[in-house]
Symmetry: C2
Subunit: 197 residues, 2 copies
């Protein structure tokens, strides 16, 4: 009898644990909300750091025999303008989906359909943010190292603070891209978990 009692006892403990544990959906949702707040913060940081990347230096003018103050700013490069646009959209998307996720945590009806829509939108945003990060990174790398094959000189030996801002902004945008990958994966996994095994 003792041998048959033990499994029963274990099962009762397990079922008690299952009753005592909070439902897993709420955990997933809180991780969702936290990641979306991080996405918003990262996007806004990237935009602010890029917009404030202004530096004026006295540089020799190529044709005339004198030097003049020249300002470096993000709007000098179309890639950086695209970067600002994409990350601004990502920031707006981050705050809107944070609010939407909080409303779903409070009222969990239609949560699965909501997760589907979020996953589809996250994929789109990932494509936009990743391409913007790539474009800004490609142009920033030329600014840092130059390209001797086509005679593009490096810029960062003169505009050092400007390049620090651009580099930091791109790093934060890369973090935002990773967050979007994680968010999409989390949404997909949350949908998958709702399938009865």
């Amino acid at each position: 009898m003792a041998s048959t009692d033990k499994p029963d006892h274990r099962e009762s403990i397990k079922s008690e644990e299952a009753l005592a544990a909070p439902p897993r959906r709420s955990n997933y949702s809180s991780v969702h909300v936290a990641l979306r707040v991080l996405l918003f913060a990262a996007s806004v940081t990237a935009v602010v750091v890029m917009v404030t990347a202004k530096q004026t230096e006295i540089v020799p003018v190529p044709v005339f025999p004198f030097s003049a103050p020249l300002e470096a700013k993000f709007s000098d490069s179309p890639a950086f303008i695209y970067f600002i646009s994409a990350l601004s959209v990502a920031g707006l998307y981050g705050i809107l989906t944070t609010l939407a996720s909080i409303s779903i945590v409070l009222k969990p009806a239609c949560a699965t359909r909501f997760l589907l829509h979020l996953a589809l939108l996250d994929v789109l945003m990932l494509g936009i943010v990743a391409s913007a990060t790539g474009a800004a990174g490609g142009v920033g790398y030329i600014g840092l190292k130059g390209n001797s094959h086509v005679g593009w000189g490096k810029v960062c030996n003169v505009y050092d603070k400007f390049c620090q801002h651009v580099g930091s902004s791109i790093a934060v945008a890369l973090f935002a891209s990773v967050l979007l990958v994680l968010l999409t994966m989390l949404s997909v996994f949350s949908i998958y978990r709702k399938i009865p095994k």
Copy 2:
């Protein structure tokens, strides 16, 4: 009585249609396979077009007072090397997942878990391909238009065929990125459809 009969009749027609119609899972899988074949083809095309982008032109050397033949090729730019690497990985991924999808069409056991893994991997590949397309696009745009603010001259007025290859390759890579977005969305939607309503 007539009013109660009609719904029954409609329901019986619906159930007959449901029995007669083929299961939708196979349709989704065939679309999956077709999109993955397209992804493979697009990635290989982008890589081949970029690798064959070589052009030699006689260009004036800046320091010495004579002209010399100079070759433009993809390996001159780190962004293009990253582009080639990322699209090669995407091509390999395309052919491997095509074969895996075909095997799942033939033996549909574990199809849902397989869809989950594909969706997670698709998201990663999308991030890589989109950033590579962005980086190559950013550098290609400087080659096309130049940047007067930092004195980077345009290249495409001399190396016209090289730029045509690069532009075509980036356009095909953009198509591959869109395919990856569609594939991820399709996987997510296929998983969502398996949840009982």
